[in-house]
Amino acid sequence: MTAGLGFLVLALAAFAWMGVLHKLGDRLGGHPARITAALFVTSFAVAVVRAVLGPGLTGSANEVSAAGLAVPFGLLAAAAVWTFQAGVRHGRIATSWLLLNLSVALPTGLSIALYGEPVGLNKGIALGLIAASVVLMWWDRRGESGAGLTTDQIRQATPDKEA
């Protein structure tokens, strides 16, 4: 159990670092498309190594079907990282990171709509809460109720330091 807790803390730290790295990339003047490309180069290399060391690559019909099925979804994932990295510049990482995590509502909703998965009480309430949460975050940005420092605002205040 102790080892399990240690791995849980490690997982938590790694996922949190992803949000921080996105914001850090923006503050360092990183380019969204190039950051996305570097991310997918790394992940692709690791995915190939894991497949070779794990089940192996035989080129069977199932393997080809699975890889082919993934193509549109992989493109969408890259577009997600790209737009997220570009959007972080204009807003706060706290609400941006939450919004990205809330996107789990989409596959949940599609699973219900397309595959007839049952909608439990928890799931129904959660989907309602997500809708309300998104509206509130939109309202927060629209009303500028949180006068924080976005990267846009920092750059406008210090144009000589613009990356």
């Binding site: 159990m1 849980l8 997982a11 790694a14 996922f15 949000g19 790295l21 914001k23 990339g25 003047g29 990183g30 380019h31 498309a33 190039r34 996305t36 490309a37 570097a38 991310l39 997918f40 180069v41 790394t42 692709f44 690791v46 894991r50 089940p55 199932n62 699975a66 890889a67 993934a70 979804f73 992989g74 493109l75 994932a77 577009a79 997600a80 997220f84 959007g87 204009h90 807003g91 990482i93 706290a94 990171w97 939450l98 995590n101 996107s103 989409l106 596959p107 928890n122 799931k123 959660a126 809460l129 997500i130 309300a132 949460s133 998104v134 009303g143 500028e144 109720s145 949180g146 976005t150």
Partner: protein
């Protein structure tokens, strides 16, 4: 601009994740490693094409942040799997990692990046965290 880009990221990310459900529905769940190769390869091609179209050369910062994101994703997924294998219940592991990361990132944003979130935003975060916990418990 922020909401428009985040709305796109929300939709793209959600749809990008849905592929695994389609894979499972087609009885190819055992081929997840091969699916991931196709998934990352397609993303790689798309991202490299976008980067090439944008022009310019990648900086060391671009590479460091991108590689860091990829490695963090790998470490996070692997550690989560090991935590589950090490006796932590899924009903604990998923909410802790999901809500914990949102909390930590919000804290870092406010402290390190001096971001302030207004009352409506804070209420949105609270509702969002509750939703993540409920979905993780499904």
């Amino acid at each position: 601009m922020w909401f428009r880009l985040m709305a796109l990221a929300f939709v793209f990310n959600g749809l990008g994740d849905f592929g695994l459900r389609v894979l499972s529905e087609r009885g190819l769940g055992g081929n997840t490693p091969h699916y991931l190769i196709g998934w990352y390869a397609a993303g790689l091609v798309g991202a490299v094409a976008a980067a090439a179209r944008a022009g310019g050369r990648p900086t060391r910062g671009d590479v460091a942040i991108g590689c860091g994101l990829g490695l963090c994703s790998l470490v996070g997924q692997t550690a989560l799997g090991l935590a589950l294998a090490g006796g932590i219940d899924g009903s604990t592991a998923y909410p802790v990692t999901k809500t914990g990361s949102v909390f930590l990132v919000a804290a870092v944003g406010m402290v390190a990046f001096r971001e302030r979130v207004g009352p409506a935003g804070l209420a949105g975060i609270a509702l969002g965290l509750a939703a993540v916990v409920l979905l993780s418990l499904e």
